[in-house]
């Protein structure tokens, strides 16, 4: 069903969700504007990761109410793969290791699935490798990573760079970054941020989920949303970061 979305690329309406028996999202409202960087900040247990999982159709999360409208359509009944093909991408906080699945083969399969979905011709191995190598260099990734098993034996930083590599290649329209800065040293953080900033084109939306403001020094947000107890309790401009740093989440009152 097509719904009005007031110019936003994604509208989250009164979203309620649980994991197991625990209600976590309790009526969350959020609009993602095209071309904008939205940062979600909040204390532990507020529901940040549940939100990211709900957006990509993770099997852990059961939606119990509300809706997620993406490009005018409800996506809550869509499979994870359909959401991905439509342009929603989650950079995982803890990317899984998959021994035996070659990184390059995996990414080419994913890219070609998307190209097929979009009615484009699939890339052959040589074309794909050229594309991949250009991104590897920018992210400071070693070329042998493309022939290794997906995330197997990768350091924390390598895994996060690999997530960004996937993002650069798949060119999604809504990019959810779940704790992208966790476990990164300064060099890795800079490389990852550079990759993210490269994707800014005035159309794509970013949802940056983070505990700490460090990543926001590198990826300038347009909006800061404070998530607490399953709901967005405050939305403001980047100036809110300093206030949160100084006073903490407890000082934020629901608007």
């Amino acid at each position: 069903m097509t719904k009005s979305n007031n110019g936003s690329i994604m509208t989250i309406e009164n979203l309620q969700a649980k994991i197991g028996d625990k209600n976590i999202l309790k009526g969350l409202n959020l609009e993602l504007e095209p071309g904008k960087v939205h940062a979600i900040m909040g204390p532990n247990g507020a529901g940040k990761s549940t939100l990211s999982k709900a957006l990509v159709g993770h099997y852990d999360v059961e939606i119990t109410g509300g809706d997620i409208i993406y490009k005018g359509k409800s996506i809550i009944d869509m499979d994870a793969e359909e959401r991905a093909l439509e342009g929603i991408f989650l950079s995982f906080q803890h990317p899984v290791e998959i021994p035996g699945v070659n990184n390059a083969y995996f990414l080419r399969t994913a890219l070609n699935a998307k190209r097929k979905h979009e009615g484009k011709e699939e890339l052959n191995a040589a074309e794909f490798l050229r594309l991949m190598k250009s991104h590897l260099e920018m992210l400071g990734m070693k070329s042998d990573m493309i022939s290794r098993s997906l995330n197997e034996g990768f350091s924390g930083g390598e895994k996060k760079r690999n997530e960004i590599l996937q993002m650069l290649i798949l060119e999604p329209e809504v990019i959810i970054l779940d704790e992208i800065d966790s476990g990164l040293d300064i060099d890795a953080l800079r490389a990852v941020s550079e990759g993210i900033n490269k994707m800014k084109d005035g159309k794509r939306s970013f949802l940056v989920i983070t505990h700490y403001s460090r990543i926001l020094d590198y990826i300038e947000p347009d909006y800061i949303h404070v998530l607490k107890d399953g709901r967005i309790i405050k939305t403001a401009g980047p100036e809110l970061v300093a206030q949160l740093e100084e006073h903490g989440y407890d000082a934020i009152e629901e608007a």
Binding site: P95, I98, G100
Partner: protein, 395 residues
């Protein structure tokens, strides 16, 4: 002949039925162990009685002139081709294990008047192809294999069956891996349904400071059981990897005993099993550490993925230890595909069915990629994918 006609016979009766003279030790062992049945420990999960009750024709094994070829080809138990210079000939088997757990090991020897003896010289790679062309037959032969000290040799073993039916292949090796040497054996066997069944009973002696590297890739259908006994001398090492991918009504697997006899001997055994359809996989593996084998290191692990609710895995890793000074571990898991991994692939736009296939192939590849030779690795991957993609997979 029905092999079940040998059931409960005394040694002298067995000798008469099998037309064997001498060989009292073997006859005694076969009579003591008795023909396998569903009550036999090693055959409990394998439908052996239906094979023993089948009428098979017996073949004659008259040696032929061995043609020079790129690989060793054994056709219905007769060597028809071998590389130039390879020492391969027929002779009675001199060293038969008097303590093998498998009665079919002794029956195989008793049915074979002579064995095919192969002496591997130097650091070579050999291809051995078993070629089966006879339907309704009991194809029985034994291979005795020796390698040289201080040498690293590799044997790639493959099976080709014509359009045959209702045949039983009963074969096996007696391998003697020489001191300070390495013998690498890579076996690939794709069995089709209703083509032929197999019981392969092996004995491997690994001498001091020698390495036995064994990889078995058993794919497809039908019934096939490998029974393997390995004796390890001081500082000897065995590394055994087994991949099983079964479909339909297949019953296949490995029953093994690795016996640590010498000090500082080491063993590592890993089984990866993927079961589809109504298949039953078997990994019944014992590691025994004898009193003489102080400072042994032994590892054993079986992992199984069930792709169908009717598929069934029998995993019985066992340790039998008679000393304190050792490191040993064993374990077995049986489950479905990892849902976190499936979700990760789906979250990148890969369909559920394709993601499932990728994970199954990945699981298999972790073992296939331990075959270092690229040509043979590709050959095994292609064989796996051919069988895997030919199987109907439900979403």
């Amino acid at each position: 002949m029905k092999l079940s006609s040998l059931k409960d016979l005394q040694p002298n009766e067995l000798a008469a039925s099998l037309n064997v003279k001498g060989r009292e030790v073997l006859l005694e062992r076969l009579a003591t162990l008795g023909l396998p049945s569903k009550k036999s420990e090693a055959y409990r999960y394998f439908d052996v009685e239906s094979l023993l009750d089948t009428e098979y024709k017996l073949l004659s094994y008259m040696p032929k002139t061995i043609e020079v070829g790129e690989k060793i080809i054994i056709e219905n138990g007769i060597v028809v081709s071998a590389p130039k210079g390879l020492r391969i000939y027929y002779e009675p088997c001199e060293m038969i294990d008097p303590e093998h757990f498998d009665p079919m090991y002794y029956l195989g020897h008793l049915l074979s008047g002579h064995t095919i003896k192969i002496e591997i010289d130097g650091d070579v790679e050999l291809d051995l192809e078993h070629h089966l062309t006879q339907s309704d037959a009991l194809i029985n032969y034994r291979i005795v294999l020796y390698n040289q000290s201080n040498r690293h040799a590799t044997l790639y073993e493959n099976f080709v069956a014509d359009d045959i039916q209702n045949t039983l292949l009963l074969y096996g090796y007696d391998m003697h891996i020489a001191r300070d040497s390495t013998l690498n054996v890579v076996k690939l066997q794709t069995m089709k349904n209703e083509n032929y069944d197999m019981i392969a009973s092996h004995k491997i002696n690994v001498a001091k400071q020698a390495n036995a590297l064994l990889k078995t890739f058993d794919l497809g259908g039908d019934k096939g059981l490998q029974l393997l006994k390995i004796d390890l001398d001081t500082h000897a090492h065995v590394e055994a990897g087994h991949l099983l991918y079964l479909n339909k009504e297949s019953k296949r697997g490995m029953v093994s005993q690795i016996i640590h006899k010498g000090e500082y001997s080491t063993s590592k055994q890993e089984a990866k099993n993927i079961l589809d359809g109504h298949a039953r996989g078997i990994f019944d593996a014992l590691i025994r550490v004898e009193e003489t084998a102080k400072f042994t290191k032994a590892q054993q692990n079986s992992k199984a993925i069930l792709l169908h609710e009717e598929a069934y895995m029998v995993a019985k890793p066992q340790l039998e230890i008679y000393i304190d000074e050792l490191e040993a571990s064993h374990g077995a898991t049986t489950g479905q595909l990892d849902e976190k991994q499936l979700f990760y692939l789906q979250s990148r736009g890969i369909s559920y069915l394709e993601a499932r296939k990728m994970l199954v192939i990945a699981f298999a590849n972790t073992l296939i990629e331990t075959v270092k030779d690229a040509r043979h690795q590709e050959r095994i991957k292609a064989a796996f994918e051919e069988v895997f993609y030919a199987t109907k997979h439900n979403a």
